[in-house]
């Protein structure tokens, strides 16, 4: 139905530039998640799509039409706000019917739409209550219901789960996923700072940082082939380890000698002959590190702290210097008494990422 196309979209407040050169194609029926650290402009971008913030540069198309100057109500979008933004003086029914009444729909049509939405969201028993008489999760559903009744082309979600407690967050996340499945032709854009939400919900994730898009891709693309150090460290928990080092062998495979005498690691990423001796950062996810007997082509380090979580064991290695992030390894199962030992760890070459000037060798 309705795709979105952002061309060189930019936002600035006076001289202060917040977002620039945003280029993004969103196909109809996708569930796109914007993630990024706080202050990266992800909510601003969403509000620009909604029409609540003026677009100060570039072009936004919804369904093939440029909508830069189209008022929000005529863009065919509906939005769920972080604080739900329910009208406190209206009952649940009136909250959901408000937009339809403004659109001058007939009473019967409004009733049908509201009842249907209430049915989907299990809100029927609460239709005549005021928002203050509802729990957080119910309010959230009313906010979603307010969107559904309008049958928009694009749903916008602005951190909708951030006000819910942990258990409810998981449940509501599932509900949103099911809602998406029931409306395969509707496009959804979802803003969050929670990478678990991003990974579980998204058909594609847009990572925003430094006023622009860092990488766009499916959740697993982002996880397996991060384009740069920022994405590599932002996706995954605990964050990916970064080891500084220098390239000692180039070709189909690249070998990097880690600083601090921690050994040599092999990556499946190709490098050019000219890269010989270049300073790089090697990225290995904690869960990709495995214990090994290999002493040369491996990372060796002394265990500083050990955390036994049962299903996994987290090892924190002594950092080379004060203030450095410790290297973390996440070993499956229980390992006893590793604290203080010097261990050798290695990862499969295809799971060893090499970043030159912050950009992955795969993408240059």
């Amino acid at each position: 139905m309705a795709g979105l196309k952002l061309t060189n979209v930019a936002k600035s407040y006076g001289d202060v530039s917040v977002l620039k050169d945003i280029n993004l194609d969103i196909d109809a029926g996708e569930l796109i998640v914007f993630v990024g650290p706080s202050g990266c402009g992800k909510s601003t971008l969403l509000r620009m799509i909604a029409g609540l913030e003026k677009i100060t540069g570039g072009e936004l198309q919804i369904d093939g039409q440029v909508v830069n100057d189209v008022p929000p109500a005529q863009r065919g979008i509906a939005m769920v706000f972080q604080s739900y933004a329910l009208y406190p003086h209206m009952t649940v029914r009136d909250n959901m019917a408000f937009a339809l009444k403004l659109a001058k729909m007939s009473k019967a049509e409004i009733d049908t739409a509201v009842n249907k939405a209430a049915d989907i969201l299990q809100l029927t028993p609460y239709l005549d209550r005021l928002p203050k008489a509802l729990s957080g999760g119910q309010r959230q559903r009313v906010a979603i219901g307010r969107c559904i009744v309008r049958d928009p082309k694009v749903f916008l979600f602005d951190e909708p789960l951030s006000n819910l407690d942990a258990a409810l967050r998981v449940a509501t996340r599932l509900e949103i996923a099911q809602l998406k499945e029931s409306m395969p032709d509707r496009t959804m854009i979802y803003v969050t700072h929670d990478q678990v939400e991003a990974m579980t919900l998204a058909s594609r994730i847009v990572v925003l940082a430094n006023k622009g898009i860092s990488q766009v891709g499916t959740p697993l693309e982002l996880y397996e082939k991060p384009q740069n150090e920022f994405v590599a460290q932002f996706i995954g928990s605990p964050a990916m380890n970064l080891f500084p080092g220098e390239i000692v062998e180039t070709g189909e495979h690249t070998k990097v000698r880690l600083d601090g005498g921690h050994g040599i690691v092999q990556s499946a990423y190709p490098s050019k002959a000219g890269d010989m001796g270049a300073r790089v950062n090697v990225g290995i996810r904690p869960e990709d590190l495995q214990l090994t007997d290999e002493t040369v082509e491996s990372y060796s380090g002394k265990v500083d702290v050990q955390e036994n979580l049962g299903e996994v064991t987290l090892l924190f290695f002594v950092p080379d210097s004060e203030g450095m992030e410790p290297v973390i390894a996440k070993l499956p199962g229980i390992h006893r008494g590793l604290k203080g030992q010097t261990l050798n760890l290695a990862a499969a070459p295809e799971k060893v990422h090499v970043f030159l000037d912050g950009i992955s060798l795969l993408y240059r």
């Binding site: 609540l52 109500a73 979008i77 972080q82 604080s83 933004a85 406190p88 003086h89 408000f98 937009a99």
Partner: protein, 401 residues
Amino acid sequence: MHPALQGLVTIIIGVGGCVGYFFFSNFVLDRFLLPARAYSAEEAAVRRRSGTIFVFALPALVILALYLLYFTRNDFGLAAVFWLLIVAALIFGLWRLKDFMYGTGAVSAGHNISHANMIRPWLFLLPAIVALGLYLTYPVFETLRLSMMQRVAGGYEWVGFDNYTQMFGEAKFWEAMRNNMFWLIVVPAMSTVFGLIVAQLTDRISWGNIAKMLIFMPMAISFVGASVIWKLVYDFRPADQDQIGILNALWVGVGGEPQLWLTLPFWNNFFLMAVLIWIQTGFAMVILSAALRGIPEETVEAAIVDGAGPFAIFFKIKVPQIMPTIVVVWTTITLVVLKVFDIVYAMTNGQWGTQVLANYMYDKLFRANDWGVGSASAMIIMLLVTPILVWNVRNARKEMK
């Protein structure tokens, strides 16, 4: 002594008295009555005995002595019975206070600290309670009594409801009632509506704060001062002279004959109301402006996304959300209106059909020296104010929650 010096001395004595009262009352409470330490059963029993003397017996004797001193010199009538009840209540209260403070058996430090902290708020409230009782509560009952009395040579005589019957028979009273009703409907409505409009319109413009300040300024002018200003606005000069009143100047400017605005029957009421609306709009604006800013911005944005235009946002989203505040503002202005006196007194003195209840009361009480009817009209004003007052306080409390 120079009056300025007298004033200064009064201030020093007053402020010093307040500080001294709070300091010494708390000192006595914490040092002698309820020190923050524990007492064994024997010590506590000794304290209880001395407490009975100092907290209960002595004050009770003083109160009783004062009562007897006064009423042995004066007639022992209905008033004496009334005061006897009060004295009895006070003495009973002292007895309970003593029990409350000293407890039974051994006393812990915690008991003393917590009881001292329960008494402390009352130490702070006591002067206010006494002053309010003296200047507000007592006059209510005295006025009620006076409204049933008639002054005769050398004193008063009980006449029951005669004052009320007489008042209800006067055309001027009903005129005042009618005018008060008009004031009651027009002024709060117009002030609130104007205040709301101004609050909304000045919210988003750069010079909004200057506009608000100008509109708020009349609040700082006394009613009499405002009346003088508006008397000039309504001023009249014969047709052959230049008009110095702006209303007549405009009126003549569009081709009308100069009018004595304040003597135009019926309409002159509205010219007087304009003064109070002018003053109260600023008040309504300030409160409603704060309320409008308290509306969550996201609800407004949600309404924009839902397709609401500026008017729908204002009337369907903003106004309903601040409705409790609007009600409080409305009722507060209603209370001001019911008591309106200065404006009428200074501008028409109730002539030409502009009488209101408060001015009527003043006429009876201080011009006609008819304390009975004057007090009766005061009671009527109080009766009219009370329900609105109660409602107002309730709404304000609900607001705070």
